[in-house]
């Protein structure tokens, strides 16, 4: 479990992980912005005394290789590999920074993070958003520093002047003579240029990471089933902790864990912060007793009121302006709220916030914007998927009621009650009905906030519990199978077997687990979602896992045992229907 850091938090690395071979991933993005993410190796005076320890796109590693830039990885805009015990003694601090290249400012960035991964597990994460910044053009995200032992600090300190201010902070005049500096500031396309400078490299594991991107062509010889994020020899669903046991570790010692399901793949933009003068933009409220204070903290005439109020949070008996009283002295108005929290840095309200002019609903919604791609199946977020019927011109069969939105000329028809269109299942007589979506346009499918996982079949066969099917390409052959067994509600478990070339969208409640089929693989019939058709299912009455019994419950669950050759897998959800 990654430890969440807030701005200003510090911790010993040894408290986070026993390892010294660390992967540091930085995600930072904003619409139209490109970033240079660098690592400064500083001496005891916090100076960049040796410019070989300025690791950036033009210099992807330090001389002895203790700090290496790995380039973009799944979930991270930039990443570094840091081997703490190889860092030379004169380097006392590593500062990870991000600088806007070209126009832009930090308030425009979307949610980002700096995370530390050790031994394949994310151990620390510092998340930030553009709302924490304003017009800065550079930000120090986090530091590794040596104080007796190596420690990590989440910094989140912006620099108004951008790169200059950052460089000055790290050694001033020395840096201005550096050859890297002009290169750093120069063309507006370092992001595209960067790969040339930073070869995908070294002993790090980039190839394994790259394969994690949804639908990356993770060439898997043998069987043809591909799940997004399939990186290993067996298909895997995305999400932490879903890797089958025994998955060979990717080469390199510090692979990041499965990236948490990527919510918003597109560049994001967070809502801008409340601009100063926000309250002055509108008419006084009805009742008009008080001219609104211009902006929360920056009350004119009381510029220094912050510091003075700092020790007097509400709740203190000796505060000067009890909340309940109507504010005296209208122009100086009520105590601006939200500032005087003990122990928290006062936000930089006083600074001009350039973004506020452009603020609006659009900006706030930017991070939820539709993901544009030309693919047929595109997950929009973990719970919503879009199918573009225009690609391949193939109809899609979807569970009735799963359409939340569509654009274009799409016809919905009911799949006739023929072969597989209707499955009468369950003792309750519930039916699974499908609708056939044809035409030209995009259909957004989701159901009940369940996670959706597109699984692409390439000649392979997959069995999916009927309740877990959200949609599938009509090009797939599908048939309904019944698994009978005593104790299964309704007397049988209905599954749909898909075969051929196309995509099946499976829904799960919560993050599923993908288990490899071994001689002893069992799953609760209520929780099983899907399995590769090569696995044989046996209703197991001998093996009963006792659930905690309670009155009215027999305490036994029906288990399915799976048998099959290695390479088969079972998907189980943390939810029993």
């Amino acid at each position: 479990m990654a430890r969440e850091f807030q701005r200003g938090h510090k911790a010993k690395i040894s408290d986070l992980t026993a390892g010294t071979d660390l992967y540091v991933g930085v995600q930072i993005a904003g619409p139209g912005l490109t970033f240079d993410i660098s690592c400064f190796g500083l001496d005891a005076q916090e100076r960049l005394s040796d410019d070989r320890y300025f690791v950036f796109f033009n210099q992807p590693q330090s001389p002895e290789g203790a700090i290496q830039q790995l380039g973009a990885q799944a979930g991270d805009t930039e990443s570094f590999r840091v081997t703490l015990d190889r860092i030379p003694a004169q380097v006392r601090k590593l500062s990870f920074t991000a600088t806007v290249d070209g126009a832009g400012q930090m308030s425009q960035i979307g949610p980002g993070h700096l995370r530390i991964v050790a031994g394949g597990e994310e151990v620390a994460r510092y998340s930030f958003t553009g709302t924490e910044f304003s017009t800065e053009r550079a930000v120090m995200l986090g530091d590794f520093y040596l104080k007796d032992v190596w420690r990590f600090a989440a910094v989140g300190q912006g620099f108004d002047g951008g790169l200059e201010a950052l460089l000055r902070n790290f050694g001033g005049e020395v840096l201005e003579e550096e050859p890297e500096t002009p290169a750093f500031q120069a063309p507006p396309e370092p992001a595209t240029a960067a790969p040339a400078f930073a070869p995908p490299a070294q002993s790090g594991p980039p190839p394994a990471f790259a394969a994690r991107r949804p639908r990356a062509p993770a060439g898997r010889p043998g069987t043809g089933t591909r799940l997004p994020g399939a990186a290993g020899p067996r298909a895997r669903l995305p999400g932490p902790g879903t890797g089958p046991p025994g998955l060979p570790a990717p080469p390199g010692s510090t692979p990041p864990p499965a990236a948490p399901p990527q919510m918003h793949v597109a560049p994001t933009l967070a809502a801008p912060i409340a601009p100063p003068g926000y309250f002055t933009d509108q008419a006084p409220p009805a009742g008009g007793q008080v001219p609104p204070p211009p902006g929360p903290p920056g009350v004119p005439g009381r510029p220094a009121s912050y510091g003075a109020q700092q020790p007097g949070p509400y709740g203190h008996p000796d505060r000067q302006q009890p909340y309940g009283q109507p504010p005296q002295a209208p122009p100086q108005a009520p105590q601006p709220y939200g500032q005087p929290f003990p122990g928290q840095p006062a936000p930089s309200y006083g600074q001009p916030v350039a973004a506020h002019g452009a603020a609006g609903v659009r900006a706030g919604l930017e991070k939820y914007r539709e993901v544009p791609t030309g693919q047929r199946w595109t997950p929009q977020n973990p719970k919503l998927i879009r199918v573009d019927l225009g690609v391949d011109q193939q109809p899609v069969l979807a569970r009735q009621g799963s359409m939340v939105l569509y654009q274009g000329k799409v016809d919905f028809g009911y799949k006739g009650a023929g072969f597989a269109g209707r499955i009468i299942g369950n003792a309750t007589g519930q039916e699974m009905q499908l609708m056939r979506c044809t035409g030209r346009g995009q259909v957004f499918l989701a159901e009940n906030s369940a996670h959706v996982h597109p699984i692409e079949l390439q000649g392979d066969a997959l069995c999916v519990s009927a309740e877990s099917v959200l949609a599938f390409d009509e090009s797939l052959q599908h048939e309904v199978r019944r698994i009978e067994g005593h104790g299964i509600p309704g007397g049988a478990l209905f599954t749909m077997q898909f075969q051929g070339h196309g995509t099946v969208v499976v829904k799960t409640h919560g993050t599923p687990v993908v288990l490899p089929v071994t001689p002893t693989t069992f799953a609760d019939s209520n929780a099983v979602v899907a399995w590769s058709a090569g696995a044989q299912v046996i209703v197991s009455s001998q093996v009963r896992l006792r659930r905690s019994s309670y009155p009215g419950h027999s305490g036994e669950a029906v288990n399915l045992q799976f048998r099959g050759a290695p390479g088969n897998f079972v998907v189980v959800q943390p939810y029993e229907v």
């Binding site: 409340a274 936000p347 274009g408 000329k409 159901e447």
Partner: protein, 229 residues
Amino acid sequence: MTMNQTPIQGYAPTPVTARMENHGSSMLKVALQTGHDVFARSGSMVAYEGYVQYDPNPPAVRQMASQWITGEGLPLMRCHGDGLLYLADYGADVVCLQLNGDSLSVNGTNILAFDSHLQWGVERVKGMAKFAGQGLFNVGISGTGWVALTSRGAPIVVDCGRGEDETYVDPDALVAWSSNLRMKGKRSFKASSLIGRGSGEAYQLGFSGEGFVVVQPSEDSTDRLRARG
């Protein structure tokens, strides 16, 4: 005496940077100031800090709301005072929006809070009358200020006016839309196919024009806050 709080330290409130902001994905934090009241869904308050008072029966709402409710409790309360207000709706995702002269229509069950100085009113949407009995109502909000919405699952924003095609939305999944969109109801299924079905996709709302639609990945439009009574 002191407990080891390290595991929960990461959840401490972050410094206030805006009038309304998220605390985690599903909690809203409002920095409340005297003179700048907020309307919030009744029953959505989960915590507050400071001096905050609640007016469960504000006259402004009573007047407006008479159109959409027929009974006892009002769906909105006025919160005033100075303090930090934490609101949530049964774990639904919270989306904070800053209106800057924009105008927005929001499904009533998806409103969590908004600045009281915004212009707002209950809207009757043509074609939505069918749902009136189910407590579905729309609120139009415009002006300059903050609005917080809820969504079951992370929402998705889709631009309308892409080409000439209209955008059709399942009313149960609809969260909000730009007010300037034209809207009409549509049955996209043939009557014959309706036989034997429940309330599926029989009815959609079609949007056209320049603007956007926000939908949630769930067709659960149950008003949990109302259900609580």
